[in-house]
């Protein structure tokens, strides 16, 4: 798999939680009865994804397996089941636009078309500068505030083309500051 090759020989040294994050892992594991640390796999994969660039390489998954004393396959099968867990690289800002019925009747198709045009990419693609990924997703539970998308931790609701432009600008500014 791509993750392992890209990581080269000593890639595991890069895939390592900070002391703070390790403490957080312990906290998560402590929520479940002794010996049931497998339950922590999804919350810990969320942490890993946050920490290791927005996606889960094979190295990252193997690292999580080691932390939780699981077989690597137990982590892979979870990571490939849930749609929020990315097993391929993504852009720094992932636009996840809802396209299910209630958003469709409020015009999500126009919003998706607008984003495609503005970013010059198709659904599922990432801009060449690695900043933006556009994705369509199924119902996120914001039907009354449609059309909407998820951007990182938060929902952006009542979208209009103008709002989308402002969000793109906001992301570019954020990227410029942090670089």
């Amino acid at each position: 798999m791509a993750g392992r090759e890209a990581g080269a020989v000593n890639s595991w040294t890069m895939v390592k939680f900070s002391e703070d994050k390790l403490k957080k892992v312990d906290e998560i594991v402590a929520r479940y009865p002794a010996g049931k640390q497998k339950s922590a796999v999804i919350p810990v994969l969320h942490l890993a994804q946050e920490e290791f660039g927005g996606w889960l390489s094979v190295d990252a998954m193997d690292y999580v397996a080691g932390l939780l004393k699981l077989e690597p396959i137990e982590v892979y099968e979870v990571a490939t089941f849930y749609s929020m867990l990315n097993t391929k690289p993504v852009g720094r800002f992932v636009f996840e636009v809802c396209q299910t019925g209630p958003c469709m009747v409020r015009g999500c198709d126009d919003i998706i078309a607008h984003i495609k045009q503005r970013l010059g990419i198709e659904v599922g693609e990432t801009t060449p500068d690695g900043l933006f990924t556009l994705r369509t997703v199924e119902c996120l539970g914001a039907c009354g505030y449609a059309p909407m998308m998820q951007l990182g931790k938060y929902f952006r609701e009542h979208l209009t083309p103008e709002k989308v432009d402002a969000i793109i600008k906001e992301c570019r500014e954020k990227a410029a500051i942090n670089n």
Partner: protein, 451 residues
């Protein structure tokens, strides 16, 4: 104004925080239950209230609780289902975001009734900012002495933990949720054994929806009997409805289940009518899985009676001429919406969310999406409509969990009530790409439509 039990205090400034919540009478039900009632008495009150599960199935909550096995020496668990993912449904999100302490209070009382010392809130991963809100409420409740060891000196210990999912509709199904909580793929289990006997980590488990558990608070505060007197028939208490689609005022409303569908859609207290002054075409009254109803069958039942917003009335007429209360996800379509396209988005949703365990669902949802896509894009044949009907029939009832049924019903209902619109797509392959079918005859008054 209808009676409000859950959202009564939703607009009080600062209600999200502990101090204001407590000042407004919060945690009284914990005090009452733990000090003055036995766990069985709490369950008895919930039974008396007639409360039915608010996640979609509508199963009596008190009865579900009484099924919980209580073998000696084995822990029991209460799990709160906050995996709200049914298209059209966003009521639990509202409760958790704005009234987190109400849920925590309900969870403590319910945990006491069931003997759960570790209670989990399984929340969908996309609600990524809500766990912090809940965790803060839990910490505040703990600091206030409502959680932890020996609560109120009664000897009852309880902790509440938040567990995040990662994007899977199927985990709203209780056995899939349990699998996911155990750190596995969300594949539903074969029942029996039921979770009440063998649930999370093979221990007896009760899984209840957020709104259900929040409703336990007013039930204990005012008594089960008082709760049962609100509403009508077996639809007791109040229900949260999340209204969306082509209406003027989308949002979450708490209703008494005695109001009519017409009042809910058109009154300013609720949806405020159809947006842009357009006409009502159809509605899915209980989340995407329940049958769509054309306007004429929505406002009045087939018998010509006023249809009410409750379990019995919404399902009056069965699947042929009725629908279901479901989760309370109320999706309204105006005269310009295309039923074929809308059904396609739902079919795509179910294809995406099928866990893949059972062939009828895994394969059937994919075929339904493909056929609907063809019809929507002017590439359908008349025989495709019958093929669709045939596929949905072969999914329904042939799968481990109800996702198969949930995928089949919207397609069946769309064909049942809007077959002419599907045929129009086939007959007008070019026109259907540029304009919608509109209302056809379905917005006519019932008398005219049936004359």
């Amino acid at each position: 104004m209808g009676k409000k039990l859950l959202l009564e205090k939703a607009n009080v400034q600062g209600i999200r925080g502990y101090d204001v919540y407590r000042r407004e009478g919060g945690y009284a039900s914990v005090e009452k239950a733990l000090r003055n009632m036995t766990p069985d008495q709490v369950t008895e009150e919930v039974k008396k209230s007639g409360l039915r599960g608010r996640g979609g199935a509508g199963f009596p909550t008190g009865m579900k609780w009484s099924f919980l096995a209580k073998p000696e020496g084995i822990p029991r668990y209460l799990v709160c289902n906050a995996d709200e993912s049914e298209p059209g449904t966003f009521k639990d999100r509202y409760l958790m975001e704005f009234l987190p302490h109400l849920l925590i209070e309900g969870l403590i009382v319910s945990s006491y009734a069931l003997g759960s010392k570790s209670t989990y809130i399984y929340i969908r991963g996309e609600y990524a900012w809500i766990p912090e809100i809940l965790e803060q409420a839990i910490a505040e409740a703990k600091a206030g002495g409502w959680l932890g060891k020996n609560i109120l000196g009664t000897g009852f210990d309880c902790e509440i933990y938040v567990h995040t999912g990662a994007g899977a509709y199927i985990c709203g199904e209780e056995t899939a949720l349990i699998e996911s909580l155990e750190g596995k793929r969300g594949n539903p289990r074969i029942k029996p054994p039921f979770p009440a006997v063998k649930g999370v980590w093979d221990c007896p488990t009760v899984v209840n929806n957020v709104e259900t558990l929040a409703a336990v608070v007013p039930i204990i505060n005012n008594g089960g009997e008082a709760y049962s007197k609100i509403g009508i028939g077996k639809s007791t208490g109040t229900k949260l409805i999340s209204a969306c689609g082509n209406i003027n005022k989308p949002g979450v409303y708490e209703i008494e289940m005695t109001i009519s569908v017409e009042e809910f859609i058109y009154s300013d207290e609720y949806c405020g009518g159809i947006a842009g002054g357009k006409r009502l075409k159809a509605c899915i009254p209980g989340g995407s899985s329940v049958p769509i109803l054309p306007a004429n069958l929505l406002l009045k039942t087939a018998k010509g009676e006023t249809r009410l917003m409750n379990y019995e009335s919404l399902s009056d007429g069965g699947f042929a001429k009725g629908s279901m209360m479901g989760s309370g996800g109320f999706i309204v379509l105006d005269e310009d919406q295309c039923v074929v396209r809308h059904t396609l988005t739902l079919a795509r949703f179910y294809r995406h969310e099928s866990c893949g365990q059972c062939s009828p669902c895994r394969e059937g949802t994919g075929w339904m999406e493909k056929i609907l896509r063809n019809i929507e894009n002017g590439k359908g044949k008349k025989s495709d409509i019958d093929l669709l009907w045939d596929i949905q029939r072969k999914i329904e009832g042939n799968t481990i969990c109800p996702l198969g049924d949930a995928a089949a019903w919207p397609v069946a209902a769309a064909i049942r009530h809007f077959r002419d619109e599907f045929e129009w797509h086939v007959d007008n392959p070019k026109e259907c790409l540029v304009r919608n079918y509109g209302l056809a005859h379905y917005a006519d008054p019932l008398e005219a439509a049936t004359a």
